[in-house]
């Protein structure tokens, strides 16, 4: 993956717990440990808005499909839905009993799905004013570490070494035992495979339908950190953060390290998010966020 660091955002909000592109990759969100959520234009290194209202560290965020709302969750056990333009919290959803570690909108952004340290996944109706979750999924036996939502699937990874696929269309629940605590699980671009970051310093690729392992990618260190992993937009590279301050890129087929991107040596790269449709990604390590991509990509976006 031949990308270089295009921009470095000094977020000035403590440790950045997560960095996320919005739906079209034009903006990114950073979740700070200073209870603030910030919206950036990473291509111009421009801070657009700061969303303050969380009572503790913000742990994850997601933008809605029309970029009019943001859902964020934090260590204050609450999920907050923000109005992007005004910066005010529209709804504050309290229901989890512990830190809410991950949150996602569904495709239509009508449901927010959050996972927490209390082993529960809660589905919140964004459109109604109800303060209770419309559904609580209590299947996990340990903390939920990641959630991904497609049009009819909810994929959760949890520290009980399992990934779960909740199929809404069929009502099937498929649980795959991974053998190691799952730090992050995400679908590949074609939706046929699941990339699972494991706590044993490996990223594994599973077939979604059969549950068989297709590839294993190692060589990096995750330590005891919740290091995110992912796959790039072309499904050619597996990406993962690491404790040594590098972003590791593996060739998906060859399962070899294709490149290592130096973010900040010695600082854990805990959050990465590939661009939804371009060969770029954002990564967060400590207080800084970096945008990676090709230089011409930056030029085309700036204009």
């Amino acid at each position: 993956m031949d990308v270089e660091c295009l921009k470095t955002l000094n977020c000035n909000q403590g440790a950045v717990r997560a960095v996320r592109f919005n739906v079209d990759g034009a903006y990114c969100l950073t979740c700070g440990s200073d209870k603030k959520l910030k919206l950036w234009n990473p291509y111009r290194n421009l801070l657009l808005k700061t969303y303050a209202g969380h009572g503790n560290e913000v742990l994850d965020a997601c933008g809605s499909c029309d970029s009019s709302q943001i859902v964020s969750c934090g260590a204050d056990k609450s999920v907050i839905i923000w109005d992007v333009s005004s910066g005010t919290p529209l709804r504050r959803l309290r229901g989890h009993a512990s830190n809410v570690t991950c949150v996602r909108f569904n495709e239509e952004s009508s449901v927010a799905i959050s996972g927490s340290l209390d082993n529960c996944v809660m589905c919140w109706d964004v459109r109604s004013r109800k303060n209770e979750p419309i559904q609580v999924l209590k299947d996990a036996k340990d903390s939920i570490s990641s959630i991904q939502v497609t049009d009819h699937l909810i994929l959760t990874g949890s520290l009980d070494c399992r990934i779960r696929q909740y199929d809404i269309r069929t009502g099937d629940l498929v649980t795959d035992f991974i053998g190691e605590p799952v730090l992050g699980a995400s679908f590949t671009g074609d939706g046929q495979c699941v990339v699972v970051g494991c706590a044993d310093n490996h990223v594994r690729l599973f077939d979604k339908d059969s549950g068989e392992m297709l590839g294993e990618y190692g060589g990096h260190q995750t330590g005891d950190f919740r290091v995110e992993s992912g796959v790039d937009n072309t499904d050619a590279f597996i990406l993962s953060g690491a404790t040594d301050g590098y972003i590791y890129c593996w060739d998906m087929v060859k399962a070899e390290i294709a490149s290592r991107l130096e973010h900040a040596p010695g600082v854990v790269v805990n959050s990465i998010h590939p661009h939804p449709n371009k060969g770029a990604l954002v990564s967060a390590a400590g207080p800084t966020v970096k945008l990676w991509g090709k230089p011409e990509f930056l030029d085309s976006d700036v204009e």
Partner: protein, 870 residues
């Protein structure tokens, strides 16, 4: 007409005529009321009011209104003018009268303070002080420089200097003349003066002597001599002329004369008070003072400690001292008033070595910018140079000090004891080893003074001394810097501590931790939880993901979720029951539920417990309750019972009270409705209503019996108990252990309990046994006697009851045609008596019961009535 016209023309009318007064209108001749008689000031403002309306004009006619009336002036934000806001002066709040001639701040033409004080008009720059006290330097306010008046400044600018007189400059000669004149005029002459006698003579001689030098000084002019203004001081006291009393004032209050002999100093309560002058003259027994009006100064006192050869230099002979001063300054001729030192001054000064600088010391002094910034560099440096002490652990330190390595656990109690006894043999045991050994074992000894190591060491040595019976030697241990009081206090402290320890108040109370307290250490490594079963783990290890690791299940997405996902709700799944309304208070158990089922298959233990609960539930289930494996078998194993017997058997029911409540709680937890056990009211009846019901008629009792029998039937067919495994707080409850304890107790009195099935008389012993098992007030001990005459059956003694129980069993056997007699097992002696019992029992079945017995009895009755119906 013409007359009329002429009449009219006779009068000339000026002005406009008043309106004609109507006849009925009474002209108001009221005088102006008092409230309208107002006094106005020269501006026309109302000045005085009534006492109740303010008395004095305030604001605008005593209102809070403004000049425009009640409408307030439009609000104008001063936000933008904050910077230009000027200070308010007192004058802003004064009106003209205040500033007038007789007001509180009259405006008079006078010199400004600037003018009188003569300070430069330049704006004094506010200097930020760099000293420890922020703001204006304090001394600046206290010590104000002496300021010249304008006249002095003017004179100065014209060339005048202090000390000179004022006037045209004079030549030398002129000045001499002038001096003479002044001298002449200032000389006091008492009595008559000889005309032109001495004055001329002295004047002439003066002129002659100075004539030679006149030629040199002709060209030089001198300023005229200054003369003191004659200051008239009014005598305002009644003392004698020239007397000054003691001036009691602080030293610094007046002008300090540095170059005059110091006055007598005296200190009074930290505040220096100078004593000035002389008080009360000479005492009656003292010699006359030479000079009454002289100022007493320190020079008049002899401070010489040695006896001087010369008389004290009290004499103030100026001429002699002058001579000594002008005399040749020989080696052996000191000034008068001085004595040569006897010892040669030690010319060789003693120099001390400079202190050794600590390693890493830098001579650079770092100034703290502010006392508030704590994180100045100096502290960090100190922390960094903390010699790394805190980074070392006990082992490393021990290795550095060549000490034996401390044992990880605390078995060292044994080690210490010899050290103490060893030290006790010596007179003064060495402090270091005992304290060191004591410090090696944490918490094994009672150490009350750990915070003060030296004190603790002393305490330990004190203990040793006490052991050796040399308590008094404590003072020799204590440092000499301690005062006697401190020593005594410490001794009493030590004695108290030793008493506390010896008496076991403290030593019994504290137990040294057997395990490291990891719960307090957030950094202690935590074992990773093992998930999944063996198969899955093995498969994952072998990377055989797929079928082995995949589990398929189903879930029920709720309708709304499907709707929001634009997906039709899966129809294959059964319609889920309506979610019960969420309780507003959400409990921890909601979340515990998920984590408690960590394994998909039910563990065997849980199932066992389940069974135990089932068997112990009050609604006695048909199968006989199997004895728990955990519970020890009772001394007299209960005979194998038939269904009815088990129903009637009381013992297990009384025992299971705890598991009952647990089961009920569990049932509540899952929302299963559990019928209230019908024994409960009977229990209370038995306890509280027994005496009254005993006296009741038999009929009433029977009717009650019948009604009570109906729920008894129901209980037979009641819904099964909660079958789910215990969850939440019950998950870890050892029900077996709880039950085992009860069973043990039951085992002690199996016979008595069995006998309870007979409703007949309850003996004293029975009551006692029951009271062990039930709560509530105890029955009076006299009760059985009261009951005794009521029926023949109630007075059956204990042994008889035992028999009846045997009979009862026998009868059951008969009715059920079960295997042969259990009666042989029971301790019933005779069959003849049992027959008698039988009849009596039958009779009593419907007659009165001794209701003070426990609920079990009722149960029995119910079952009995059931039998009857059958």
């Amino acid at each position: 007409m013409p007359a009329d016209a002429s009449d009219d023309e006779d009068f000339a009318i000026y002005g406009t005529p008043l309106d004609p007064i109507e006849e009925d209108a009474v002209p108001s001749k009221r005088p102006t009321p008092i409230e309208e008689q107002v006094v106005l000031d020269k501006q026309g403002r109302r000045r005085f009011h009534g006492a109740f309306t303010g008395g004095f004009s305030a604001g605008y006619f005593n209102s809070v209104g403004s000049e425009e009336g009640w409408t307030p002036s439009a609000f104008k934000s001063s936000r933008s003018e904050k910077a230009s806001q000027r200070l308010q002066k007192a004058e802003d709040f004064m009106d003209e009268e205040d500033k007038g001639e007789f007001g509180i701040a009259p405006k008079v033409l006078r010199a400004t303070s600037d003018y009188t004080q003569g300070t430069s008009r330049k704006r004094s720059h506010m200097k930020q002080s760099t000293g420890p006290i922020p703001g204006q330097p304090v001394l600046r306010d206290i010590l104000q420089p002496v300021k010249d008046t304008v006249g002095v400044r003017l004179l100065r600018s014209m060339g005048w200097r202090p000390g000179q007189g004022v006037g045209p400059r004079l030549s030398h000669r002129q000045k001499k003349v002038q001096q003479k004149e002044i001298k002449k005029s200032s000389r006091k002459v008492y009595g008559c003066q000889f005309p032109g006698s001495s004055n001329d003579k002295s004047g002439g001689s003066g002129e002659d002597s100075s004539e030679e030098s006149d030629s040199d000084m002709k060209s030089i002019t001198f300023a005229p001599d200054d003369y003191d203004a004659f200051i008239v001081k009014v005598k305002d006291n009644v003392f004698g002329i020239g007397y000054e009393g003691l001036d009691r004032r602080p030293v610094l209050s007046g002008h300090v004369q540095l170059f005059e002999p110091s006055f007598l100093g005296m200190q009074e309560k930290k505040k220096k008070v100078a004593i000035w002058g002389q008080a009360f003259g000479v005492g009656a027994l003292e010699e006359d003072d030479e000079d009454i009006y002289a100022r007493d100064d320190m020079s008049q006192y002899n401070f010489e400690l040695e006896s001087s050869e010369k008389p004290s230099h009290r004499n103030r002979d100026h001429s002699s001292s002058h001579r000594a001063l002008t005399g040749p300054r020989g080696v052996g001729a000191p000034l008068e008033g001085f004595v040569l030192g006897k010892n040669q001054p030690n010319s060789q000064r003693k120099f001390f070595r400079a202190p050794d600088l600590p390693p890493g010391f830098t001579a650079k002094h770092e100034t703290k910018q502010s006392r508030w910034d704590v994180n100045s560099k100096g502290e960090n440096v100190a922390k960094k140079q903390g010699l790394g002490r805190h980074d070392l652990d006990a082992r490393v330190r021990a290795s550095i000090l060549d000490e034996p390595l401390p044992k990880p656990s605390a078995p060292s109690t044994v080690e210490v004891v010899p050290s103490i006894s060893q030290s006790a043999t010596t007179l003064l045991p060495p402090a270091v080893p005992s304290s060191a050994s004591a410090s090696l074992l944490p918490g094994s000894t009672f150490r009350p003074f750990v915070s003060q190591p030296d004190k603790q060491a002393r305490y330990e040595r004190f203990l040793d001394l006490v052991k050796s019976g040399q308590k008094d030697l404590l003072t020799s241990i204590q440092p000499s810097s301690m005062t006697d009081w401190d020593k005594e206090h410490e001794r009493s402290e030590f004695e108290q501590a030793a008493r506390l320890y010896k008496s076991g108040i403290m030593s019994d109370r504290f137990v040294s931790a057997s395990q490291p307290d990891d719960s307090l250490n957030p950094l202690a490594p935590v074992e990773r939880m093992k998930h999944g079963n063996e198969e899955m783990q093995n498969a994952a290890k072998m990377k055989l993901f797929g079928k082995l690791t995949r589990t398929r299940g189903s879930w029920q997405p709720c309708a709304l979720l499907c709707k929001r996902f634009n997906v039709p709700q899966p129809s294959c799944v059964l319609e889920m029951e309506k979610p019960n309304p969420r309780s507003s208070t959400f409990s921890v158990f909601d979340f515990l539920e998920a984590s408690s089922h960590n394994t998909p298959a039910k563990p065997a233990v849980v199932i066992q417990q389940e069974e135990a609960i089932k068997s112990r539930s009050i609604t006695s289930e048909p199968q006989p309750s199997p004895p728990l494996s955990a519970s020890p078998p009772p001394p007299q194993p209960p005979p194998p019972r038939t269904e009815r017997q088990s129903e009637e058997s009381v013992a297990p029911k009384t025992v299971t009270s705890i598991s009952d409540t647990l089961a009920r709680l569990l049932a509540d937890d899952t929302g299963q409705v559990q019928p209230e056990p019908e024994e409960k009211p009977d229990l209370f009846k038995a306890i509280f209503l027994s005496s009254s019901e005993d006296s009741d008629s038999e009929d009433e009792d029977t009717s009650k019996d019948d009604t009570a029998s109906i729920p008894g039937k129901k209980s037979n067919t009641s819904a099964p108990r909660n079958l789910s495994p215990p969850r939440g707080i019950f998950a870890n409850l050892d029900l077996d252990a709880l039950n085992a304890r009860q069973v043990e107790r039951q085992g002690e009195t199996p016979a008595a309990l069995k006998s309870d099935e007979e409703k007949s008389g309850c003996s004293q012993k029975d009551l006692k046994q029951e009271s062990d098992l039930m709560y509530g007030p105890r029955l009076p001990s006299a009760l059985p006697k009261l009951i005794a005459p009521s029926s023949s059956d109630t007075s059956i003694p204990q042994q008889q009851i035992k028999q009846t129980s045997a009979i009862w069993v026998e009868r059951a056997v008969k009715s059920e045609s079960a295997q042969d007699d259990d009666s042989s097992d029971s301790d019933s002696p005779s069959n003849a008596s049992s027959d008698k019992r039988k009849s009596s029992k039958k009779k009593s079945k419907h007659s009165k019961h001794s209701k003070h017995k426990k609920d079990k009895k009722h149960k029995k009755h119910k079952s009995k009535s059931k039998h009857k119906k059958r």
